[in-house]
Amino acid sequence: MWNYSEKVVDHFLHPRNVGEIPDPDGIGEVGSLACGDMLRLTFKLGPDGKIADARFKTFGCASAIASSSALTEIIKGMTLEEAAAVTNRDIAKYLGGLPEEKMHCSVMGREALEAAIAWSRGERTEPYRLEGEVVCKCYGVTQKEIERVCAENNLTTLEEVTHYTKAGGGCGLCHDRIREIISGSAQKEQKPAGGDELTNVQRIHMIEDLLEKRIRPALRQDGGDIELVEVDRNVVTVKLKGACATCPSSSITMRQFIEKELTKSVAGDIRVEEARH
């Protein structure tokens, strides 16, 4: 049984904004019956150019319905520019998180939104996911889509990509190609993001993300762990735990490994310090 958050259950049992707006300003449809989920999003713009109403119709599981419901709630009142910046993470976050295997439901929401926005701007082309090289032929997922979802969600493994996009979930012939794309987008990510543009909150968020995805797994292999204590502009204070806490070479570990990772991915001027206790 899936461990759905209360919010997911609420939006599944009591979905908001079900339906279809006649004569909409934006319409986006993604997914298919074969894939097991499908979403049609319609919205209407108000005189102020903001999304005045948004409606959905969804075929899919509980998290697909909840993600669609959440999406409509999120974008109401937004300008198209604001709506264009909504990511699948915003949808998942709004719902208090989704099981990893169900993250593709949030991605479907973002895709439908993007298609609807493109439609409203007159780019009435094929849906986003059909542009460019189709990597996963079973589920019709393109390279561009995989790259984007990898970047937005900091994905590093094939399994994650399948959970988020369904790519690779069918026959498995595309697994090597997906791994190539993952390593390609990881290289792009390694460019320093230009520390000055980041707010402290963004910085903390990125640092925590990086600790969780890259650094903790590595430390845990050696029986250690790490806790983020404070972020003061470019000074990041951490506390090493477990085997790392008593390891004489821990300061070397810090400088060489953690700092390198953080300067690479968050900001070039980051300095790591160990919490004194």
């Binding site: 894939c35 097991g36 499908m38 599981c61 697909a64 295997e101 979930g169 069918g170």
Partner: protein, 384 residues
């Protein structure tokens, strides 16, 4: 909220009489049946009584043909691996596309180690392609593994005919009877089956116990090496309480098998026909003429199964689905796919598996709650 349990192919309630019969072996008679002293040794006779009872339900010739295991999956693994080991010159398994993962994933694993695996398909009603099955058997086939009844659709394969085909082809037959045992009669003395697997928790015994029938004289290699338990065929101190429970559950099931065919089937038919009558675009998956008496698998077109299950769950109704979302995989159930059920229906397939504990009131309760759920989800759906 009351619970209406119609998921008995997943697991069954432990019969209260079975619980009572097991308790002494958890409280006072906790000795080791292999011990020399009376305190332990007296337990062995209860294990042997259980063996007789299992043998009797299956119509086995002697109780020595029954080996106790930990589950149906272990029984399947032990049988198939034994057949391969018994005839090392043969490197092929013939099985079906709709087997339980206990067999299919083992076959897949063995295929990575040089064993040829041939899957026989089924038709739209889930009936085995008998010609293809017959042709698949050859002198390189170490074992054919065929389920007696399908867990998802309840479709019963013609095991008697299959066994005689295998006998003529000189290929040992393993039968996964996990769903069939206790629901339909099994008589191993009249059908030439070499191995047959059953599971305790599908017929009123607890989880964690199963049995494997191995016809006298058939090759057997232990899956679990260890002590001399089970005549050296399955190492590990016996799960005495559960084995005693399985024995009684088999005896009770033997006495109730007729009511499966009458009472349980009547409830199932009532549920099924009313659903088909009241809910448009609902379809039965599987051959209605050759099915377990307790099972119906119904697809609701253009609706997704997990959503149906969770809404049923809100009313305390416990069923299961062959939809992708419930399995954690992305494809609908392999059984639906093998039957060629279209995607529009496969994602919305729901299995109701009843038991003699279900009542007419419970069936009416489901019939009251289900149609609005399907309506609601169809209103939500962009698919017409």
């Amino acid at each position: 909220m009351k619970t209406v349990y119609v998921d008995n192919n997943a697991t069954t309630a432990v019969d209260p009489a079975v619980v009572e019969a097991m308790l002494p072996f958890l409280k006072d008679l906790w000795g080791n049946p292999s011990s020399m002293h009376t305190f332990g040794g007296q337990v062995a006779s209860h294990v042997e009584l259980a063996r007789e009872r299992v043998a009797s339900l299956l119509g086995a010739g002697t109780k020595e043909e029954i080996i106790f295991t930990s589950c149906g999956t272990e029984s399947d693994n032990a049988a198939i691996r034994s057949a391969l080991a018994a005839n090392p010159a043969r490197r092929k398994i013939v099985t079906t596309a709709v087997e339980h993962p206990a067999v299919l994933n083992l076959a897949k694993e063995l295929s990575n180690h040089g064993v040829e695996v041939q899957l026989t398909g089924v038709d739209g009603k889930g009936r085995l392609d008998m010609d293809a099955f017959r042709k698949a058997l050859d002198q390189n086939t170490a074992v054919a593994s065929v389920m007696w009844a399908n867990n998802e659709t309840g479709v019963i394969f013609p095991i008697e005919e299959i066994a005689s085909i295998c006998e003529k082809a000189n290929v040992p037959l393993h039968v996964d009877a996990v769903q069939a045992a206790g629901k339909i009669p099994i008589d191993l003395q009249s059908i030439p089956i070499t191995y047959l697997a059953i599971s305790g928790h599908k017929l009123g015994a607890p989880k964690g116990v199963g049995a494997l029938y191995v016809r006298r004289g058939a090759g057997f290699t232990p899956l679990i090496m260890g002590g001399h338990q089970e005549a050296g065929r399955r190492g590990g101190t016996e799960n005495v309480a559960s084995i005693v429970g399985l024995g009684l559950a088999c005896e009770l099931a033997a006495g109730r098998i007729e009511s499966e065919r009458t009472d349980v089937a009547a409830l199932r038919d009532r549920l099924e026909s009313r659903i088909l009558d009241t809910i448009p675009r609902s379809f039965v998956n599987g051959d209605p003429d050759n099915r377990l008496p307790n099972t119906t698998n119904i697809s609701f077109e253009s609706v997704e199964g997990e959503a149906i299950l969770l809404m049923l769950n809100e009313f305390g109704i416990c069923a299961s689905s062959g939809s992708a979302c419930t399995s954690g995989s992305l494809d609908p159930s392999h059984v639906m796919m093998a039957m060629g059920v279209p995607f529009t229906r496969a994602h919305g397939s729901i299995r109701f598996s009843l038991s003699r504990s279900n009542t007419a009131e419970e069936i009416d309760y489901i019939l009251d709650k289900l149609p609005p759920i399907i309506n609601r989800l169809r209103e939500l759906s962009p698919v017409r």
